[in-house]
Symmetry: C2
Amino acid sequence: MISIIPVHGLPEIREGDDLAALVVELTQSNDMALQDRDVLVLAQKGISKAEGRIVHLDGIEASETAVRIAAGERDPREIEVILGEAKSIIRERGPLVITQTKHGFICASAGVDHSNAPGPGMLVLLPVDPDASARRIRDRVLELTGRTVGVVITDSFGRPFRQGTTDVAIGIAGIPAIIDLRGTKDRIGYELRASRTAIADEIAAASDLVRGKAEGVPAVIVRGLQLEGDGTAQEIVIEPEFDLFA
Amino acid sequence: MISIIPVHGLPEIREGDDLAALVVELTQSNDMALQDRDVLVLAQKGISKAEGRIVHLDGIEASETAVRIAAGERDPREIEVILGEAKSIIRERGPLVITQTKHGFICASAGVDHSNAPGPGMLVLLPVDPDASARRIRDRVLELTGRTVGVVITDSFGRPFRQGTTDVAIGIAGIPAIIDLRGTKDRIGYELRASRTAIADEIAAASDLVRGKAEGVPAVIVRGLQLEGDGTAQEIVIEPEFDLFA
């Protein structure tokens, strides 16, 4: 059996906060202290805030490209910030852009979001290196508790072909990204159907089940997995030439 | 807290088996009897087997198209079966095909699979109407136990942009497909980022966490969700003209 346990009661996260310490303190006082092999799942927004990945629109000047994409329907300075976070624009429809982030993830608006920002006129960016963020949290939990946990940093991504968003892993430490179920490829090197499970994304999706509607639970413990391995979310990024689906 | 509970001990499913009754019996004898609002998650393969959705390659004659796609690397009769299950071919690379199924789902090989088939030379097809299959299971559980549960039928799908497969919902009953978090659209009608959560897909992904490597656990209980609503997996299918990502 696997348990998905929300960690309630985290304060609003501010730049410089020791997020790992806050989670450790809360879980200990709530009688659900972290255990070896727990996976601590943290929503990206809390990590980004702790790391100071906040931009104020006041300081942004929109380029011509940003003004064009905004099309009078969106603040062009927001588009400018998105362009700064994007490696490339994959799709552009009206003022909405699907981007490849500098990490290689394909998502709307390069992960830039104004919801749940610290204040009006502020945008929250994705962490610069979410795998490194996950590792820092993992190391800090070990330091504070002696427990060896996995860490997954999640964001809600839309996807082709299917309505709605699911939470996916954008940074991981102490767990594998992918579990190879069969280890079989066909002779031209494509993966065979259902041979490799994106376990980190499945953990991310599972954690969202306890988040509730208000996005008020940035930390979730997934307990009962027996995962071996230590991957990165970068391994989940697929090279276009091997992307059968795109 | 949410619990993800594997139902161990199901026998190999055969055509005509009362899958709901088998699960009910097992859960009752294992002291984890189904409760109101539980979500019973069933892997597609068990449903398909119970419904007799098995094809023997012996009876199949490959068309020229199937022979061409198979390219000497795959049994052309298998391609023929896939073509029969597909509404259209979305991508074709070597002998691998990404298809839209008759239900509208985009997946490899129209969901046709020879792994875990009842025997050699046999293929398992997706259920004809997985939403109806889910509803039948839900009704049968109610009849047998008096409990009102949600049902999700899952399959492992690859996806663009990200490595590996995740389990997704192909049929549901008694739960919503999508939860609308903010109810906001921009003025041209596109959904705003992260506004709608594909809860049925997240439940499907969560259930896969206890399946283990051998795919030996076709039934999983997800306990602790408090979902209102009654949707269909058909609602998850996105019309191409509204598919920002594709």
